[in-house]
């Protein structure tokens, strides 16, 4: 198992993709949060509470939640490229227990996703405090709380990387897998929420779990408003995190039981 994990790290580091991923993390983290902080949520359209309020700070960091598709896509790409480039043949010859191959990838990309998340949130923290200092605004959230929030966001990125790997194992076809992962994150869940009744499940869907992990409930609140239901109550951050990880594990387990058992021809 250790050998498999080491091999997966080698595979990950053999191309320049990790470099591009970290660069993306810095741009999306530092660049985006820095910019949003500099502009100020009170100037967004529609306007949101300013940075001197708790909601204002949460809304700025909550935007990072929309970037989870990046680590998810990286995980999906990593898994599906085994099939696309036919390296699955060699991989399964060297490691005939296919669940071990997937486990090694999950471990490797869990770590990689966490590194991605930490780089992104470190950038976000720097952008946030830098822009605040420039504007001379005192944030509506204690520094300790902001750091805790950033760590939760980093964890969110790691869990989404795992989800991406597991979905890749489940779907195998690179293009279809990417379309499903990104399509769901961008549209699938919003469409689901339009269906009466299903929106009550929102806290249990990946988006809702993400919202509880990032404490960014804006979307949930807007939806509740528009659908004139009572505001949905989200899970606790820990509950949300565990639920997301659970989704990844279920997808991985199904992948091991069905598609990964298929013939490699």
């Amino acid at each position: 198992m250790n050998a498999l994990i080491k091999a997966e790290f080698r595979r990950l580091l053999a191309t320049r993709m990790w470099l591009w991923a970290l660069l993306t993390a810095v741009v999306l983290g530092g660049g985006m949060v820095g910019l949003l902080t500099a502009v100020g949520p009170e100037n967004f359209s529609p306007p949101m509470p300013g940075l001197e309020t708790e909601e204002g700070v949460l809304s700025v960091f909550g935007m990072l939640g929309f970037t989870v598709f990046v680590p998810a896509a990286l995980g999906t790409l990593a898994m599906t490229s085994e099939y696309r480039h036919r390296t699955a043949t060699f991989t399964f010859l060297f490691a005939p227990q296919r669940w071990q191959v997937l486990t090694a990838k999950l471990v490797t990309f869990g770590v990689a996703g966490l590194v991605y998340g930490l780089v992104q949130t470190a950038g976000a923290g720097a952008g946030f405090f830098g822009a605040l200092a420039a504007r001379g605004v005192t944030p509506g959230l204690a520094t300790g709380t902001v750091i805790e929030l950033l760590l939760r966001l980093a964890l969110t990125m790691a869990v989404y990387t795992l989800l991406g790997v597991a979905m890749g194992a489940l779907i195998r076809n690179q293009i279809v897998a990417l379309a499903v992962v990104i399509g769901y994150l961008y549209m699938g869940e919003l469409i689901l929420m339009m269906i009466p009744g299903v929106n009550l499940l929102y806290p249990l869907l990946p988006g809702g779990a993400t919202a509880s992990l990032t404490s960014f409930t804006y979307l949930a609140d807007v939806l509740a408003d528009e659908l004139s239901t009572s505001p949905v109550s989200l899970l606790s951050p820990v509950g949300g995190g565990l639920l997301l990880a659970g989704y990844a594990l279920v997808a991985a387990a199904v992948a091991v039981l069905v598609p990964m058992r298929r013939d490699v021809v």
Partner: protein, 310 residues
């Protein structure tokens, strides 16, 4: 050293892909120390059989074992079995060295193995290049290097000479011979029968997923006596002499006169023909043995069943 005997044993192996029966109750074995040719026309089921032996494809019925164990039961399989199935199974942006390092790590093989194999397979100069820039021959060599990382006792190669030039084929032939001489089990598939004729010791011939013939090539050739081609200005007289034979009853089974005037003799060796000609004071200008071609053998072995898989 107590070396386990790594023979490949295929028993009642069957694979159906929906309505297509790719392999049909196939049984044969492959012995260590020789090169076995796994032969059959396109679509005969060679690749499917090899993938079943390697645990990549699940059989509909039957078993395949290596040294008595199924592939999935082997501990550290890459130290026992090496296989090349795809012409190209590399990440296009990995260098040859990256690729080998990943699988050497996965198999837990010694670190020096990568450079050693790059050297041995003549890839050292291209080790840093991305695999997408590789020619077919270089890809074949890199595949072979991957298969050899664990110094395996058993080697399965699916159409290894595809895309190799004559020099590459000659090199492959020597290489496989070395491996077999070291006591390894070598199974090489091909649909080009004439190509493997000079390499293989044993053959397993299949057609439409079923066994046609299996055993040492030499024994198969006994089914069909070799033909000797004789050119002589005294062809007509020689023909009579050869058919009459020696006083102790050694005579040609048949002698045909070709349209070029040459004689095709069956049932006599070249030495016997030369001696008979000399005793009768007849001239011989050319004397050569025509090898029984595997292709002829194949068509003869399958002559009783109509049609062909092609």
């Amino acid at each position: 050293m107590n070396q386990p005997n790594y023979r490949i044993e295929v028993t009642g192996l069957t694979k159906r892909f929906g309505p297509v029966t790719a392999v049909d109750s196939l049984s044969f074995s492959v012995e260590p120390g020789v090169i076995t040719g796994f032969l059959g026309p396109n679509g005969a089921g060679k690749t499917t059989t090899m993938r079943m032996i390697l645990g990549l494809v699940t059989p509909t019925a039957g078993t395949a074992t290596i040294g008595g164990k199924r592939y999935g039961e082997l501990r550290r399989p890459s130290e026992i079995v090496g296989a090349v199935l795809d012409a190209s199974a590399f990440h296009p942006n990995h260098s040859a060295r990256d690729h080998l390092r990943i699988y050497r790590t996965m198999g837990g093989h010694p670190a020096g193995r990568v450079e050693e194999l790059l050297d041995r397979l003549g890839l050292a100069h291209a080790a840093h290049r991305k695999t997408r820039t590789f020619s077919t021959g270089m890809k074949q060599r890199l595949s072979l290097a991957t298969a050899l990382l664990g110094d395996p006792q058993v080697l399965l190669l699916d159409e290894p000479s595809n895309g190799l030039d004559p020099e590459g084929i000659a090199w492959l032939r020597r290489f496989l011979r070395e491996l077999a001489d070291e006591g390894r089990t070598v199974l090489v598939s091909s649909h080009v029968l004439s190509e493997v004729q000079q390499i293989v010791d044993d053959i397993v011939m299949i057609r439409r997923g079923t066994l046609v013939a299996a055993g040492p090539l030499r024994e198969m050739e006994r089914f069909r006596p070799s033909t000797v081609l004789v050119r002589s200005p005294d062809a007509e007289a020689l023909k009579k002499v050869l058919l009459r034979g020696t006083s102790d009853g050694v005579a040609a089974q048949s002698v045909e006169t070709g349209h070029d005037g040459a004689l095709r003799v069956q049932g006599l060796a070249t030495a016997q023909i030369a001696d008979l000609a000399s005793a009768a004071r007849l001239r011989v200008h050319e004397l050569l043995t025509e090898d029984t071609s595997l292709e002829q053998l194949f068509f003869e072995l399958t002559a009783d069943s109509e049609g062909d898989a092609r």
